[in-house]
């Protein structure tokens, strides 16, 4: 079995380095793509892991659609004396 020449060994190392560079470029591209998608407010699959607000587009719409509606509490008392007056009635 013959040993590879120095030129063949150099070619082999160059080919390996080229494959590594391509793999790193592809991995970098995919990483940037995923980060961009995750950061986009309209993206429908990302979600917050903090347990706070959800970042999914669908959930955002639904939460806006059903805003909290607060009945609150009034303060009423038996009618006494004068002051401003109004009538509540069916209109």
């Amino acid at each position: 079995m013959t040993q590879p020449t120095r030129i063949e060994a150099a070619r082999h190392r160059a080919a390996g380095a080229k494959e590594l560079a391509v793999a790193l470029a592809v991995a970098g591209f995919i990483a940037v793509l995923l980060l961009a998608r995750a950061a986009h407010p309209g993206h429908g699959t990302s979600s917050s892991s903090s347990g706070g607000s959800s970042s999914t587009g669908q959930s955002q719409s639904q939460s806006e659609s059903s805003d909290d509606f607060d009945f609150g509490s009034s303060s009423v008392a038996p009618s006494t004396g004068g002051g401003a007056q109004a009538q509540t009635s069916v209109s």
Partner: protein, 275 residues
């Protein structure tokens, strides 16, 4: 909006601002102005429409009311109210021998509102009058700086206290918040000999059948009181308990009989004992 507006305790500038506010609400939300935003949105065949800030805010409030009442106060009943025959200004409405149109049930859950973008299924007709008048009363009170009272079409809000006369007889002192009354003793007409009215039950798409003639509720704001009064009316016999579960005082009127819920009785009793 077709109602008298009473404002007490406001300056001239505040009065003018309140007038502009109600005029704007009428221009935007009227069902009887062809050029109103409500009618433009309802006519628009697009699935997605861009709303004005005021319209989007009111719709957001209406959707919140729908969620809080499990859909009893529903903003998608525009077709249902027209099917019942209320398709023009009430002053122009006359009894009609034609039968009512097909019922249209509420479908508020199909609406998607994101900021000012609304998407809805084709054929959906909004009617925001379930919240718009009371919201306008709250907003008008917000335009005043001192103690004031605003009342429009039976919806009342105050800062600093006011005497509110009640349906039937009696009155109470509203110290803070709002009071509103819903019912069917007005705005009634006939279709094919059958009495119709404007309070549509979204579960049937027809004018509601309730044991109550009128329901009066006090809450933290006028719009909250109005929404709660409508829901309690639609819930019929379950209305008093529904209000009690939310700590809301309610007064129910049926054939001249007055039925207060527990929260109403306790609220008034509490103040009497404190005095």
């Amino acid at each position: 909006m077709g109602v008298d507006v009473l404002v007490c305790g406001a300056t001239d500038e505040e009065h003018a601002a309140v007038r502009r506010l109600f005029d704007e609400h009428d221009r935007v939300f009227s069902r009887f102005r062809p050029e109103s935003e409500l009618n433009r949105v309802n006519r628009d065949p697009s699935e997605v429409v861009v709303l004005s800030p005021l319209f989007a805010s009111a719709l957001r409030s209406a959707l919140g009311a729908a969620a809080a009442t499990d859909g009893l106060v529903d903003p998608t009943l525009g077709r249902a109210i027209e099917a019942a025959g209320y398709d023009r200004d009430f002053a122009l409405l006359v009894d009609d021998e034609r039968p009512p149109g097909a019922p249209v049930r509420g479908r508020w859950r199909t609406l998607r509102l994101s900021s000012r973008l609304l998407s809805r299924p084709p054929g959906t007709a909004l009617d925001l009058n379930g919240v718009v008048k009371a919201r306008a009363v709250d907003a008008a009170l917000g335009l005043t700086a001192g103690d004031a009272l605003v009342a429009a079409g039976g919806d009342v809000a105050t800062r600093g206290g006011a005497v509110v006369r009640l349906p039937g007889e009696g009155s109470l002192r509203l110290l803070a918040g709002g009071v509103a009354t819903s019912g069917t003793t007005k705005r009634r007409w006939r279709r094919d000999g059958e009495v119709q009215h404007h309070l549509i039950d979204p579960r049937t798409g027809r004018p509601a059948a309730s044991r109550w003639d009128e329901v009066t509720v006090a809450a933290g704001s006028c719009v909250a009181a109005d929404v709660a009064a409508k829901a309690a009316f639609l819930l019929s016999k379950d209305g008093p308990d529904w209000l009690d579960e939310r700590g809301l005082p309610g007064r129910f009127l049926s054939g001249g009989e007055v039925v207060p819920n527990r929260a109403w009785t306790e609220a008034l009793l509490e103040h009497e004992q404190a005095a």
